[in-house]
């Protein structure tokens, strides 16, 4: 775990976090955040598509079914925990649950780099699992929210548009398709932009994430101790569940680690936007604080090595 801190991306996240804590005037222009997140999503999609073009698609089916199963189960489990034990109201429980079902693409990128560093191989189609986990989890979260919680009128057209064509799903999906069409030869000319600087750009992005998280640190008090605990225990539960599904659907140690990390990660791009429209009664402070300030750093620093360890043990 201490070894994990030697990763530049994680160190930069901590540097960003510290800058906020010591009230440094460091601030990246908002346009940088926008452009880097677009770059990262597109690069992840493109890389996944190229790998998909080289892999055997039939081997994808069983893990894909397992992944969708995870995407449906986690929000339900999270909802029950938040509602029964956490005593959150229905709207807040449903909105937070959707965030934990959905995934964080940056956490995904970090686990790939982690596996790369320790020299563990993983299946080529993990990016497909990322996209597969994103959509059903948000859909289930919205379903729970609409059935159990929200009384306000909502435009379903606008909502589905947000889920399917919101920037994160759109960029991942189209990047994946573009990568698949282009194949390894086709992407060679753009490799110098989309592939080679990826780790550096990701590291830079994590500096910004650290800053954003640090500005929300004061919200921890509003979130309360239950949500803080939930933000660390829920990823462990989902991570264990992801490990089991990964193992029983025949993924390798590396693939299982990726799936466990995906299951454990919480969304902070797609889910907040969808939930703000789907469950306007839910307080954004709760779900943003839980996913961004607690679960994201938790997974980055301690979660990923734990999921790797779980995967090694079960294999």
């Amino acid at each position: 775990m201490i070894e994990n801190l030697k990763d530049p991306a994680i160190l930069f996240f901590i540097i960003g976090l510290l800058a906020g804590i010591v009230k440094s005037d460091l601030k990246l222009p908002e346009a940088i955040y926008e452009i880097i997140s677009i770059y990262l999503l597109l690069s992840i999609g493109l890389k996944g598509g190229v790998q998909l073009a080289e892999s055997n698609l039939s081997s994808l089916i069983i893990p894909a079914v397992g992944t969708i199963f995870i995407g449906i189960t986690i929000p339900v489990v999270a909802y029950i925990i938040l509602r029964r034990i956490g005593k959150f109201n229905r709207a807040d429980s449903a909105a937070i649950a959707a965030h934990y079902g959905s995934v964080s693409a940056v956490t995904f990128a970090v686990v790939l780099i982690y596996l790369d560093r320790i020299g563990v191989k993983h299946e080529e189609f993990t990016t497909v699992l990322l996209v597969l986990l994103e959509i059903p989890a948000i859909a289930v979260g919205i379903f729970i929210a609409r059935v159990r919680a929200s009384k306000t009128q909502v435009s379903y057209g606008k909502l589905f548009h947000e889920v399917l064509f919101g920037k994160s799903v759109y960029l991942l999906l189209t990047g994946l398709i573009a990568g698949y069409i282009l194949g390894p030869e086709g992407v060679k000319p753009v490799k110098i932009v989309f592939s080679d600087p990826f780790k550096g750009v990701l590291t830079f992005f994590l500096l910004e994430m650290g800053l954003v998280a640090s500005r929300r640190l004061s919200d921890l008090r509003k979130a309360g101790s239950f949500l803080i605990l939930f933000g660390m225990i829920m990823p462990l539960i989902s991570g264990l569940f992801g490990t089991l599904v990964g193992y029983y659907t025949g993924l390798s140690i590396g693939g299982t680690t990726v799936l466990a990390t995906l299951a454990a990660s919480a969304s902070y791009i797609a889910a907040p936007a969808a939930m703000r429209i789907a469950v306007p009664e839910a307080n954004p402070t709760y779900y943003l604080t839980a996913s961004l300030v607690i679960t994201f750093p938790f997974n980055l620093i301690v979660g990923i090595p734990i999921y790797y360890w779980m995967s090694v043990i079960i294999h």
């Binding site: 601030k27 908002e30 955040y33 926008e34 306000t152 009128q153 435009s155 606008k158 800053l211 954003v212 500005r215 919200d219 902070y268 791009i269 907040p272 936007a273 703000r276 429209i277 306007p280 009664e281 954004p284 402070t285 943003l288």
Partner: protein, 97 residues
């Protein structure tokens, strides 16, 4: 010529919905600005996507202004960060608004 300027400051996620509403109500045009600030919902510092505000400005007649305010009050006030105010203004080309 006397007109109303309706100013709506709210979460950027509502942009498309409000623009659709404005067209339905009959506003002939609008201007949208990115905004930052602080208020009942804490600091909205626009440092990332979920924390952005917009300011929508609409020049219209009294009746449309009233309809916009009532519509927003009914649909958005309870759950979203939103401030609306109106100003009496003078315009040169009255038929344009």
């Amino acid at each position: 010529m006397q007109k109303k300027l309706v100013t709506i400051i709210t979460e950027s996620i509502l942009e498309q919905m409000i623009v659709d509403d404005l067209k339905k109500i009959g506003a002939k045009g609008y201007t949208i600005l990115e905004a930052r600030g602080s208020g009942a919902h804490g600091t909205r510092s626009a440092d990332w996507g979920q924390n952005q505000n917009i300011q929508i400005e609409v020049i219209c007649n009294d009746l449309t202004a009233q309809q916009i305010i009532e519509h927003c009050q009914k649909n958005y006030y309870s759950n979203y960060a939103m401030v609306i105010f109106t100003t009496d203004i003078q315009v040169l080309r009255s038929d344009k608004f």
